[in-house]
C-alpha cells in the first residue's frame, strides 16, 4: 500500500506545475500502467487526503489506464 506516498508525490508535482501555469487547478489527469504496481481505487482514495490543505485541494483526479509501467502526470485542467 504505497499509493499514499505516490499520491503525495503527485500532489507535489501537480502543485508545482499548477503554480508555474497560474490559475486554479480543478482536475489532474494521470496515466497509470498495469505494471506500475499501483491500485487505481487506492490512489483515488489517497489523492483526496494528500491534496487536503494544499493549493490543489478539491481538485478531481482523472485516471487513464495504460499497459506498461507508466506513472505519469499527463495534464492539468486550469481555471483562470
Amino acid at each position: 500500500m504505497h499509493e499514499l506516498s505516490i499520491a503525495v508525490s503527485l500532489v507535489e508535482i501537480a502543485t508545482e506545475e499548477g503554480g508555474r501555469l497560474g490559475g486554479r487547478v480543478c482536475a489532474v489527469h494521470v496515466k497509470i500502467g498495469q505494471l506500475a504496481g499501483v491500485v487505481k481505487d487506492a490512489l483515488a482514495f489517497s489523492y483526496d487526503i494528500a491534496a487536503q490543505d494544499t493549493p490543489i485541494a478539491g481538485s478531481k483526479l482523472v485516471i487513464e489506464e495504460a499497459d506498461g509501467r507508466e506513472l505519469e502526470l499527463v495534464a492539468l485542467e486550469i481555471e483562470s
Binding site: M1, S9, A27, L71, S80
Partner: protein, 219 residues
Amino acid sequence: MTTAPRLVEVRQNILKHNDILARALRDRFQESGVFVVSLVSSPGSGKTMLLERILTTLERRYRVAALVGDLATENDAARLARSGALVRQITTGTICHLDAAMVERGLDGWALDQLDFLFLENVGNLVCPASYDLGEHLRCVILSVTEGEDKPLKYPTIFNTADVAVITKIDLALAVEFDRDAIERNVQAVRPGMRTLAVSAKTGEGMGELIALLEAAVP
C-alpha cells in the same frame, strides 16, 4: 462570466523527485567507486541472514557497508554489525519501502570513497519497492524455496525491475519439494534473460557463485 477550464499538457513522471535524487545518488556512487546492491524480498525470505553471510565474507577483503530498512526495531542492524561491516538501520515508521531520500539521509557522514560495496536492504515487501529507484547498480530480488514457485508470476513488477534473482534456503528444497525448473520458467516468463542463483546462507551452498558475481563488479 466564467470560462471553461483549459487542459494543459504537462507530462511529468509522478516519482520525478525520487528519480532525480536516485540519479544524483547513482552519480555519487559512481564517482566514489562504490558498488551498490539492493536486496528486495517478502518478509521472512532470509534476506538478513543472506546479507549477514555476504557481509562476513566480503568484509575480509573489501570495505563494506549496509543500510537496512525496517518499519521498526534496530534488530537487523545490530545483528549485521557483528560481521564487522559498517551498518546503519533506517526505520521507516509506517512507510513500506525505502526511497532515494531515505537512502541519502542514511548515508549521512559516511565517506563513500572509503567503501567498495554498499548494500541496501529494503523493507520486506514485494510490491512497493518496485516503484522506487535507489540509485543502486544491482537489484537482487530474493525468494526462498518455502514461498512457492509462482511468486514471480504473482509479483511480476518487482521481478521485472530486478537484475538477478537469488533463491534462498535451498537446504530446505527437498523438504518442501521445491521445483527449480518451475521457478526458472516463471522467472523467465516475467523477466526473460534474468540470471537466477540458488543459495543456502545456512550451509554455504551456492554462496561462492553469488560472491563471485559481486566481486566481478569491483576492480
